[in-house]
Amino acid sequence: MMRIRLALICLGSSVAAIAADQATLDLGKKEEARSCLACHSLRIIHSQRLARAAWGRELDKMAGWGSQIKEREALLEYLVANYGNDKPMPVPEMSANGK
């Protein structure tokens, strides 16, 4: 009984965490567009799969190069959740024929 109750508590808290995270992830996605797109398109971000520390270093580098990142934590959470090194590599995208 105790075990079931513990499991329910864990389930409840993780659902709450996911729900809380969704707002953060949405904010992070917006922040990505706001702070990155001025200089480059997003493909160069979305084609990579990096650990949290590595994404953090990338954000620091870009901030040093003039990116005005306001929601750093949300952006980092969004990058780790979608492009973390536990995610499979994406299928390469092709450009259309320009000839």
């Binding site: 200089c39 398109s41 160069i44 990579q48 650990a51 003039g66 390469p92 450009s95």
Partner: protein, 381 residues
């Protein structure tokens, strides 16, 4: 080039103008056939393996690596090459001046320093190139040494600093490179005005530096300034950018910044282009293809294995055995039975260097040159 406001604005406009997006969100790069699209603004394009079937890689499928937005198209009549620093006659040369100097042609393989980065474990930041950030072209133009002699280069200068017309966005550093004067004065080092006899276009029109045998980082595009100097440039793209650990590191560990060195030259390497990894072929005779190159050396031998590296056979090599340029290799193969086969290629150069099984992991994912390997499914005919 130090960006002024007008140039930054022009770069923004150029970036916004291309590539064009169609309604289905696909990206078209003018002048290029379909390419592996790592990024569109700025353009980072990888050559699909199916195009690697000729010794000279056509411009319309040649890979593109841009650090910074492509500069606004340069008017050939308005183009000026500035020469400053340790020279007797500082000044400017026009495109016509460069065209009047003796023109040389050098076939050379250009490879992005990060080609193959996607094969490293653990993953490192940067474009996740596979096998196709490389190509072989015939580059034509005056020798860089002849250009420098026109300006009366001081023989005591230790380095040559170069800048191109591209400028950084926001506070992104300018792409400025420096190389030892000895390499700058090498007879094969050119200021190329032509690539495969055509305009270099996105590859650095009207003048692109050719540094045969060295990685692509040194091959500055849209060259606008040459400055012989006593000291090495200290900008981002010389330090910490494009450096490699002096002492090999445990994979995933951080380097000591004082123990990172400038990359000069290239290792020996081969890549399999056909059949492609995880492709299906039917039981019967097939041809295994690829290319191999070795920086400032020539390729001596390429061996191929079709059984995971147990037995190796020499492949046939294309005739031209040159420093700087790749050799194509082929070997005929008839699998004995259906099944899954691991095909591998291993190159040896004229200096005796051999591709390793495990290339040294490094934090920027440079210089991948592991023995190449693809898996192929052979099905009953």
């Amino acid at each position: 080039m130090t960006p002024n406001r007008r140039q930054i604005f022009a770069a923004f406009l150029a970036a916004a103008a291309r590539p064009m997006r169609s309604a289905d969100d696909s990206v078209t790069i003018a002048g290029k056939r379909p390419m592996i699209l790592h990024n569109d603004r700025p353009e980072d394009l990888e050559t699909p393996l199916r195009y690697f079937d000729s010794w000279v890689t056509p411009i319309d499928v040649f890979f593109v690596r841009q650090h910074l937005p492509r500069p606004a198209t340069i008017d050939p009549a308005a183009y000026r090459l500035n020469i400053s620093g340790m020279v007797a006659k500082p000044g400017q040369l026009t495109l016509a001046d460069l065209q009047k100097l003796p023109q040389q042609t050098v076939p050379a393989t250009l490879e992005c320093t990060g080609n193959g980065r996607g094969f490293y474990t653990p993953k490192v930041p940067g474009i996740q190139w596979g096998r196709g950030a490389v190509g072989n072209a015939e580059w034509s133009g005056p020798r860089l040494s002849d250009v420098l002699k026109v300006a009366g280069v001081d023989t005591k200068a230790a380095f040559l600093e170069l800048d191109g017309a591209d400028v950084g966005v926001a506070a992104t550093p300018d792409f400025v490179r420096s190389m030892p004067m000895e390499k700058a004065m090498h007879p094969a080092t050119l200021l190329a005005l032509k690539m495969n006899g055509q305009s270099p276009d996105i590859h650095g029109f009207p003048a692109r530096l050719i540094v045969p045998g060295w990685d692509g980082t040194s091959w500055v595009k849209w060259v606008t300034r040459l400055t012989p100097t006593a000291e090495l440039n200290k900008g981002f793209f010389m330090n910490p950018g494009y450096r490699y650990p002096k002492y090999s590191l445990p994979p995933g560990s951080a380097p000591n910044p004082a123990e990172l060195e400038i990359i000069e030259g290239m290792p020996v390497k081969s890549s399999l282009t056909s059949p492609e990894d995880q492709s299906k072929i039917s039981l019967g005779p097939t041809t295994i293809r690829g290319f191999a190159w070795a920086g400032e050396n020539a390729i001596e031998r390429v061996e191929v294995s079709t059984d995971g590296g147990s037995r190796w056979q020499n492949a046939q090599l294309s005739a031209q055995k040159l420093p700087f340029a790749w050799r194509l290799f082929t070997i005929n193969w008839t699998p004995a039975a259906p099944g899954y086969y691991t095909i591998m290629s291993r190159a040896t150069d004229t200096a005796g260097r051999v591709q390793p099984i495990v290339p040294a992991w490094n934090p920027s994912g440079y210089l991948w040159n592991g023995i190449d390997r693809v898996g192929v499914i052979v099905e009953k005919a």
